[in-house]
C-alpha cells in the first residue's frame, strides 16, 4: 500500500510558447524593436527559464539581470504581458497555454540600457534619500545586550521589512512614470519600515522628506504598486499610513 499519492503530472507535458521580447542594443540600435522566439518549456518552468532557454540555446546576445532565481534577490523585475513581475517567480502555466505568445519588456520609467536591463541608479537614489537606516542616539543597553522590543512593536512594521528593492512597485506607478523625481512606492516602503520601528528616532526627519513636493503626496492611490509587489507587501496601505502620520502628526 502506498502511503501517499505520487506526484506526477505537474512535472510533465512540455509546451511551445512564443516570447515576444523588446530588444535594444545601445551599440547598434537607434531605438528598441520586438523580436519573437519560440521555445519549448515545461508548464512549471519559470519565465526566467524560458529566457535562459533563448539566451543559452538560441541567441546569446539577449541581456537581462538575474541571480537567485526564486524571488528573493530582486534582480529580474520585468514587464510580462503588461504587468510587472519577477521573471523567476511566475510560472509559464499561470500566464500562457500551449501556442500562446508572452510579451516581455523592461520595467517602465527608468532609462533602458540594453534589452531588459534598465538603469537602476535613479531608483536607488530615491531609496537613499529617505534615510533607510535605523537612527537611535540613546546609549546602548548597559548590560551589553539587545535593545528590547515587544512582539507587538516588532509586528507593527513587519510587512515593510520584506522589501527586496526590485523596483516592481515604483515602475508600475503612473505618478512615477509621469515624474521621475517622485520618490516612488519603494522608497516610501523603506521609510515606513523605520518610521514605525519603535527603536527609531528619526521619524520626523523622514516625514519631512516625504512631505516635500516629490514625496508621498504624489501618490494617487492607484494600487498598481500593491498588485505588482512580488513579496505581497501592502504597499498602498503603507503609503496611506505615512500620509496619515503626516496629516495627524501621530505615529501609531
Amino acid at each position: 500500500m502506498r502511503a501517499f499519492p505520487i506526484l506526477g503530472a505537474a512535472f510533465s507535458i512540455p509546451m511551445k510558447i512564443n516570447l515576444k521580447i523588446k530588444r535594444f542594443n545601445p551599440e547598434t540600435d537607434k531605438k528598441p524593436h520586438w523580436e519573437t522566439y519560440t521555445v519549448e518549456v515545461e508548464p512549471t518552468d519559470r519565465v526566467l527559464d524560458a529566457l535562459h532557454e533563448i539566451k543559452w540555446n538560441q541567441d546569446g546576445t539577449l541581456a537581462l539581470r538575474r541571480s537567485c532565481a526564486h524571488g528573493v534577490c530582486g534582480s529580474d523585475a520585468m514587464r510580462i504581458n503588461g504587468r510587472n513581475m519577477l521573471a523567476c517567480k511566475v510560472l509559464i502555466q499561470n500566464i500562457a497555454k500551449d501556442g500562446d505568445t508572452v510579451t516581455v519588456e523592461p520595467i517602465l520609467g527608468l532609462p533602458v540600457i540594453k534589452d531588459l536591463i534598465v538603469d537602476m541608479e535613479p531608483f536607488f537614489a530615491h531609496y537613499r534619500a529617505v534615510m533607510p537606516y535605523l537612527v537611535n542616539n540613546d546609549p546602548l543597553p548597559e548590560n551589553g545586550r539587545e535593545r528590547l522590543q515587544s512582539p507587538a512593536d516588532r509586528e507593527r512594521y513587519d510587512d515593510t521589512t520584506k522589501c527586496i528593492l526590485c523596483a516592481a512597485c515604483t515602475t508600475s506607478c503612473p505618478s512615477f512614470w509621469a515624474r521621475g523625481e517622485y520618490v516612488g512606492p519603494a522608497a516610501i516602503v523603506q521609510a515606513h519600515r523605520f518610521i514605525f520601528d519603535s527603536r527609531d528616532q528619526a521619524a520626523q526627519q523622514r516625514l519631512e522628506i516625504l512631505s516635500a513636493q516629490d514625496g508621498v503626496w504624489r501618490c494617487r492611490t492607484v494600487f498598481n504598486c500593491t498588485e505588482a509587489c512580488p513579496r505581497g507587501i501592502q504597499v498602498t496601505k503603507a503609503i496611506g499610513e505615512v500620509k496619515e502620520a503626516l496629516r495627524t502628526g501621530i505615529i501609531q
Binding site: 506526484l7 534577490c73 540600457i113 533607510p132 535605523l134 539587545e146
Partner: protein, 591 residues
C-alpha cells in the same frame, strides 16, 4: 580607455561578509566595495532560518556548547581555535546586528527570539537547544538589508555591477584587482594596500543547487590562477531539503519547528538512523539517509525524492510521540515559515499546510575555499605563510570553522564574525603599510586580453552545452555519494570540457552589458574549481562529513585528520596541513 582607482582597502563582494568588513574598515581607512551585483542582490539575502549565538534567551546555553556542536558537526576537521573565536564572538556579533537595526523576532519579554536547528544541542541532555536567532524565515535578507543600510548611513563607497576578473599579486603580495564595469565593458584597475575577497560560494558547478546563478567562483579561480592554493575543496555540503528538481532551499527551520522526513511507506525514517536528534541530525547525515532510502526503493513512488512533512497535525503527532508538550497550528507555521511555505506553493503548486512537500538534497555550501588565518589573512601555503595585503571572509574563505560539514546557521555566524575581523585587520594593516607600485597599463591590458580571447574566439562550442555537461557529471559523480572510479570519470570529463572550452564561440561581440561574455568567463572559473574539487575528492580515501566515499566508508583519522591544499599549475598538486585540535579530541559521531 582603462580607468584607474586607488583605495587603502578594497572589498570584493557585497554580501554579509563583504559589507561587515567594509563597515569596519571604512571607520578608519579609505575603503571601497566592488560587487558584480547590486549589494542587496547578494546571496546572503536568501539565508532563511537563523544565525546561532548562545544568547540563552529561552533556555540555558553556552558558547562552549555551540563550539562543541560545530566541531562535532564538522566531523572533527574544524580548526578548534577558530571555532572558539567564532562561537564566543557570535554573541556580540548578533547583539551588534540588533543595535544596527536588524528586526529580529522577539520573545514575549522583548528579547531576540531563538529556535532549534540541526546539530545544535544542549551538551548535557544531548537534546536540541534553541540557539538560532531569527527574523521569520528571512534572517539572511534582514542581515543583508541591515548591513547595506548601515553602509549607506556611513557613506561607504560602492562600485556596483563591476565584475572582478583578476587579482594583482606580485612577490607574494596583493596590490589590488582588475574589474570590468558591466554597463560599459571598460576595464578598471583598482590599486589597494589591502584587498578582502568575500564573493561567497560556487555551487553552480552542480545542476541541482540552492545557489544563485551568480555564484560561479570568480575570485577563488582568479587566485588559483595566480598561484595560490585552495583548501578542503572536496568538502561541499548537500542540503537535504531542496525543492524537488529545482534545488531551491527549504530551510532547516522547518524541521526546527517540527517538520519530519517521510518515505514512501509513510515512515519517519530518521528515527531509525539517528535515534536522538532524528530529523535534526546534521545536514550531511540527513542527505545520506535520504539517498539511502531512495536507493533501497523507499523514495516516493520509487522515485528520487522523499517528503518533508510539515502539516500541523503531523507535527503535533510527532511532538506527542517525542514527549514534547508543544502544539502548533497553521497560523503559527505561516508566521514562522512564511517564505518557504510560499516557495512550495509557487514552485510546486503544493500547500505544505495540507500536503507533504517533495524534496531532494541540493548542492548548497562550500566548506572549503581560500585558506585564511583567524584574522581573515590569506595563506600562501600549508606552513601558514601570509599573502601580504590579501584577505578573505565568508563562504569563499576556509578558516576552517566548518570542517567537513557546516552546521545550519553557522554560515551567517561565520560571515559576521570573520567579516568584522577581516575589516578590522585590514584597517590596522593599511595604517602602517604603503602602496606598492603596480604596472597599471600591463594589468589593464592583461584583463582586457582575457575577455577579448573569449569575445573573439572563433570556435564551434556553445558555452551552455559545456556548462550543462559539467553540471551533469558533478551531480552524478561528485555528489553526496562518491567512488574512486566515478571521480576519475569526472576528472576525465572535466578535462575534456576544458579542452572544448578553448573552442567556444559566443554570440555577443559587444562591450556594453555583455552577459554572454561574462557567463562564458564564469564557466572557465567553474571548470577550474570543478577540477580541483574532483581531484581533492579522489585523493581523500576516507569518508568524513560532506565527503562520502562508498569505497572508503569509514573516517580515517590516522591518515586523513588533515586539511587538503590544492594548487593548479597546469595539473593539480595536493599538499596537506594538520587540523588544529585544542579542547576536543575526535570521537565517533553519533546523534
Amino acid at each position: 580607455m582603462p580607468q584607474y582607482h586607488q583605495f587603502d582597502a578594497l572589498v570584493v563582494g557585497a554580501g554579509g561578509a563583504g559589507l561587515m568588513a567594509a563597515l569596519y574598515a571604512s571607520k578608519s581607512v579609505n575603503t571601497a566595495v566592488i560587487s558584480k551585483l547590486y549589494p542587496t542582490r547578494s546571496h546572503t539575502g536568501t539565508a532563511q532560518g537563523g544565525i546561532s549565538a548562545a544568547l540563552g534567551n529561552l533556555e540555558e546555553d553556552k558558547w562552549e556548547w555551540h563550539a562543541y556542536d560545530t566541531i562535532k558537526g564538522g566531523d572533527f576537521l574544524c580548526d578548534q581555535d577558530a571555532v572558539d573565536i567564532m562561537c564566543r564572538e557570535a554573541i556580540d556579533a548578533v547583539i551588534d546586528l540588533e543595535h544596527m537595526g536588524l528586526p529580529f523576532d522577539r520573545t514575549p519579554d522583548g528579547k531576540i527570539s531563538q529556535r532549534r536547528f540541526g546539530g545544535h544541542t544542549n551538551n548535557e541532555t544531548k537534546k536540541p537547544v534553541m540557539r538560532a536567532c531569527h527574523a521569520a524565515d528571512r534572517t539572511g535578507h534582514m542581515i543583508l538589508q541591515t548591513l547595506y543600510q548601515n553602509c549607506i548611513k556611513n557613506n561607504v563607497k560602492f562600485f556596483d555591477e563591476f565584475q572582478v576578473i583578476d587579482v594583482l599579486i606580485e612577490d607574494g603580495k596583493c596590490n589590488g584587482v582588475v574589474a570590468v564595469q558591466l554597463a560599459t565593458g571598460e576595464i578598471h584597475v583598482f590599486h589597494s594596500k589591502a584587498t578582502l575577497i568575500a564573493t561567497g560560494g560556487f555551487g553552480k558547478m552542480w545542476k541541482v543547487t540552492s545557489n544563485a546563478h551568480s555564484l560561479t567562483g570568480d575570485l577563488p579561480a582568479a587566485v588559483l590562477r595566480r598561484g595560490l592554493p585552495l583548501e578542503d575543496m572536496e568538502f561541499f555540503q548537500f542540503h537535504p531539503t531542496g525543492v524537488y528538481k529545482l534545488g531551491i532551499l527549504l530551510s532547516e527551520a522547518a524541521r526546527g519547528e517540527g517538520a519530519v522526513f517521510i518515505n514512501d511507506k509513510g515512515e519517519r525514517f530518521m528515527e531509525r538512523y539517528m535515534p536522538t536528534l532524528k530529523d535534526l541530525a546534521p545536514r550531511d547525515i540527513c542527505s545520506r539517509c535520504i539517498y539511502t532510502e531512495i536507493r533501497e526503493g523507499r523514495g516516493i513512488g520509487g522515485k528520487d525524492y522523499v517528503y518533508l512533512d510539515f502539516r500541523p497535525e503531523q507535527i503535533n503527532k510527532y511532538f506527542e510521540a517525542d514527549g514534547n508538550p508543544k502544539r502548533i497550528d497553521a497560523h503559527y507555521l505561516e508566521t514562522r515559515l512564511p517564505d518557504i511555505i510560499e516557495f512550495a506553493r509557487v514552485y510546486q503548486g503544493i500547500d505544505p499546510i495540507k500536503e507533504p512537500v517533495p524534496i531532494q538534497p541540493t548542492a548548497h555550501y562550500a566548506m572549503g575555499g581560500i585558506p585564511t588565518d583567524n584574522d581573515a589573512r590569506v595563506l600562501a601555503d600549508e606552513t601558514g605563510r601570509i599573502v601580504e595585503g590579501l584577505y578573505a571572509a565568508g563562504e569563499v574563505a576556509c578558516v576552517s570553522v566548518h570542517g567537513a560539514n557546516r552546521l545550519g546557521t553557522n554560515s551567517l555566524v561565520d560571515l559576521v564574525v570573520f567579516g568584522k575581523r577581516g575589516g578590522i585587520a585590514m584597517a590596522e594593516y593599511c595604517k602602517q603599510a604603503s602602496f606598492r607600485p603596480i604596472n597599471r597599463d600591463a594589468a589593464a591590458k592583461e584583463g582586457a586580453a582575457q575577455l577579448d580571447r573569449i569575445r573573439n574566439n572563433n570556435g564551434n562550442e556553445r558555452p551552455h552545452a559545456i556548462r550543462k555537461e559539467m553540471q551533469a557529471v558533478m551531480d552524478d559523480k561528485v555528489g553526496v555519494y562518491r567512488t574512486g572510479a566515478g571521480l576519475e570519470e569526472a576528472i576525465d570529463k572535466i578535462h575534456e570540457l576544458q579542452a572544448r572550452y578553448k573552442r567556444i564561440r559566443i554570440d555577443d561581440k559587444g562591450f556594453k552589458w555583455n552577459t554572454d561574455l561574462m557567463e562564458a568567463w564564469e564557466l572557465g572559473a567553474l571548470l577550474d574549481l570543478a577540477e580541483v574539487t574532483a581531484f581533492a575528492a579522489l585523493a581523500r580515501t576516507e569518508s568524513r562529513g560532506g565527503h562520502y566515499r562508498e569505497d572508503y566508508p569509514n573516517r580515517d583519522d590516522v591518515n586523513f585528520l588533515k586539511h587538503s591544499m590544492a594548487w593548479k599549475n597546469g595539473t593539480i598538486t595536493l599538499k596537506y596541513k594538520p587540523v588544529r585540535i585544542t579542547r576536543i579530541q575526535p570521537q565517533e559521531r553519533k546523534y
